[in-house]
């Protein structure tokens, strides 16, 4: 019987890839216009750029070698000559802090990007299709979520021999994905009930088209914000785990490690705690600020641009 319907003259596969660029051009063009006008964004972006540069080419910021230490000058206080002083091994503390940016950024960016990718895949499958895939994914997430992060991370990091930024990132991803997956799922579930989804379906859109063109773009704003917050949170998480003694170990240079060492001698040498904490807070703060400006920019109803 189907053949009687005759060939539809103009049937094309609804491929979300086909005009991704076109959509991006309109969506992102608009977002970029708003971001450029937002002072908070300029501050956050400048700070993040400086930190990225610091992580990529620390030599630009210091000529000193962070591993060349003079144990006899241990814990020298900040002076005009040495702004940050020296740490307890007598290394140039300014160079140590500068070189620490790379570790934090690697952990933060890798963790946040991977967590979001995982959440995006599993969260949209669970949310859009519901039923069995939803039950399987979300129950695994629930079980995983019930393990206390710090406890689980400590246990896992103690069991894994070896340490390094990527191992710490792996552990943070492992315990961080259920949270964001749930967020994605919730936004997909509410997104697929919208009027424009029904209208799009009435006009013949496929599941893939609806997911890629309506549900995800509408749910992507909270994800970006979460992503930016997530970088900050992961950096903090690394510092925390390192502080607890299970994260990074020497000779890795990391703010968390510096803070962990400094905490014992805070009253003697407050500068050892102050500088890495300052850098850590500013970096986390910059990512949170970025998240907030992104949230405003991604909402087309906030000062609309005609």
């Amino acid at each position: 019987m189907a053949s009687q319907m005759g060939p539809s003259p103009v049937v094309a596969e609804l491929d979300p890839q086909v005009d991704k660029q076109e959509r991006d051009a309109t969506l992102w063009g608009d977002v970029w216009k708003k971001l450029r006008r937002d002072k908070r964004f300029l501050i956050a972006a400048t700070l993040i750029l400086i930190f990225l540069l610091m992580g990529a080419v620390p030599q630009l910021f210091t000529h000193a070698d962070p591993r060349q230490c003079d144990i006899l000058k241990f814990a020298q206080r900040p002076s005009r000559h040495l702004w940050f002083g020296r740490d307890i091994l007598g290394c140039d503390y300014y160079a140590r802090v500068i070189y620490g940016a790379r570790t934090s950024l690697i952990v933060g960016l890798v963790t946040s990007a991977s967590t979001i990718t995982i959440a995006l895949i599993f969260g949209s499958i669970a949310g859009y299709f519901g039923g069995v895939p939803d039950a399987i994914i979300m129950r695994i997430a629930d079980v995983w979520f019930s393990i206390p992060t710090i406890l689980g991370a400590i246990l896992l990091l103690t069991l894994i021999h070896g340490s390094g930024p990527l191992i710490v990132a792996f552990v943070l991803i492992l315990f961080g994905w259920p949270d964001i997956t749930r967020l994605v799922r919730a936004s997909v579930v509410s997104g697929k009930e919208r009027g424009y989804v029904r209208a799009s379906r009435a006009l013949g859109a496929s599941n893939r088209y609806i997911l890629a063109k309506h549900v995800l773009p509408n749910g992507i704003a909270p994800l970006f914000i979460y992503g930016a917050y997530g970088v900050g949170a992961a950096i903090g998480g690394e510092a925390g785990l390192t502080f607890l003694g299970v994260g990074l170990r020497l000779p890795t240079i990391s703010w968390g490690l510096q803070i962990a060492v400094a905490q014992d001698r805070f009253f003697e040498f407050p500068h050892l705690l102050f500088f890495p904490s300052l850098f850590l807070s500013v970096l986390i703060g910059a990512f949170i600020l970025l998240g907030e400006t992104l949230r405003d920019a991604l909402d087309p109803r906030v000062f609309g641009s005609a």
Binding site: M5, A12, D19, E22, T26, A202, G204, N218
Partner: protein
């Protein structure tokens, strides 16, 4: 037998929803036909099944919980039970739907232009430039001034009337043969309603499209439709030429609907509301579903379900007291 083939032929369509309290018969065996260039109004209160029936035709109800029976033939081909991949091509390209509230039917995060162009590029394989040109053309056709500028607008920047025109443009973008318009003007200002309806009507006549106009307003139905089918409790209770029904309804329910619409040219003291509320579709009343609210109900109405039958040439009604009483 291509002569006897209608453009759209709905035959004994039934939609049931399974709920905790039992099966809800939202659409309880309706049948009608639609020809090219014809406007058929489906008239009924909220909960009469008119919207559900349209969604069932397009297959955009969630199944389960809905179960759909009967047939919907588009030029002889049954759409019910068509594979999902086949019905994708029917939607938009052969049967299209227009929704009540244009602001929820448009995606808030994309500009009007990108939404129309997306649709054209995905479904008609147009290049970006061709899609842009076609989109401008479509907006011109639905009577939007300065279409180029409008393409850049986001849905929240449009008035209800303009937004609904954009939706009309999208629903005719793929040249459908049938358009199901579900209360297309209910969310609009009265002044804009007539404009949108006139636009729809002229487009339908120009392109020889069959239009199913779903509405609860008998005046709108009478003013724009060729034929009217009145739905009550999931059933069609009266059908016939729009003008005749408007002038002389046969079914008491149609009569009651007519009296409940305010008239500008008539001095009325009070508007007559229909007593009672639409029936519970889980446990519908015995006999005629309208009898608890019907001023003319007799004992027979409580017991026997009236069949839809022809009382006057071209006029059908499901009422035991048809022509006997003056509703």
């Amino acid at each position: 037998m291509p002569e006897s083939r209608h453009l759209l032929e709905v035959d004994d369509l039934r939609v049931e929803f399974q709920t905790d309290k039992g099966a809800v018969k939202a659409v309880d065996g309706i049948s009608y036909t639609l020809e090219r260039g014809e406007v058929l109004a489906i008239l009924g209160e909220s909960g009469s099944g008119k919207t559900v029936h349209a969604r069932a035709i397009l297959g955009i109800l969630d199944i389960p919980p809905a179960s759909i029976k009967g047939s919907v033939r588009l030029e002889g081909v049954d759409l019910i039970g068509l594979r999902e991949s086949d019905i994708h091509q029917v939607r938009g390209e052969r049967i299209s739907m227009l929704f009540q509230d244009p602001h929820t039917a448009l995606d808030p995060v994309f500009s009007v232009g990108s939404q129309i162009e997306e649709l054209l590029r995905a479904r008609r394989s147009l290049s970006r430039r061709e899609a842009r040109r076609e989109a401008i053309d479509l907006l011109t056709r639905v009577g939007i001034a300065s279409p180029k500028e409008r393409l850049k607008s986001f849905p929240h920047q449009l008035s209800g009337g303009i937004a609904q025109r954009v939706m009309v443009a999208m629903s005719i973008a793929l040249n459908p043969e049938v358009l199901l318009a579900d209360e297309p003007t209910s969310s609009l200002d009265v002044t804009v309603q007539a404009q949108v309806l006139e636009l729809l009507e002229s487009l339908m006549r120009d392109f020889n499209v069959g239009l199913v106009l779903i509405t609860h307003n008998l005046d709108i139905a009478a003013g724009f439709a060729d034929r009217i089918a009145v739905m009550y409790a999931g059933k069609i209770v009266e059908t016939g030429p729009a003008r005749e029904i408007h002038e002389r309804p046969i079914h008491p329910y149609t009569g009651a609907l007519l009296k409940s619409v305010p008239k500008l040219d008539l001095k009325q003291d009070r508007l007559q509301a229909i007593d009672g509320s639409p029936p519970n579709l889980i446990n519908p009343p015995s006999g005629c579903p309208f009898h608890p609210r019907c001023p003319f109900a007799i004992e027979r109405c409580r017991v026997e379900v009236p069949e839809l039958r022809e009382w006057l040439p071209g006029r059908e009604a499901a009422c035991h007291r048809a022509l006997e009483v003056e509703p």
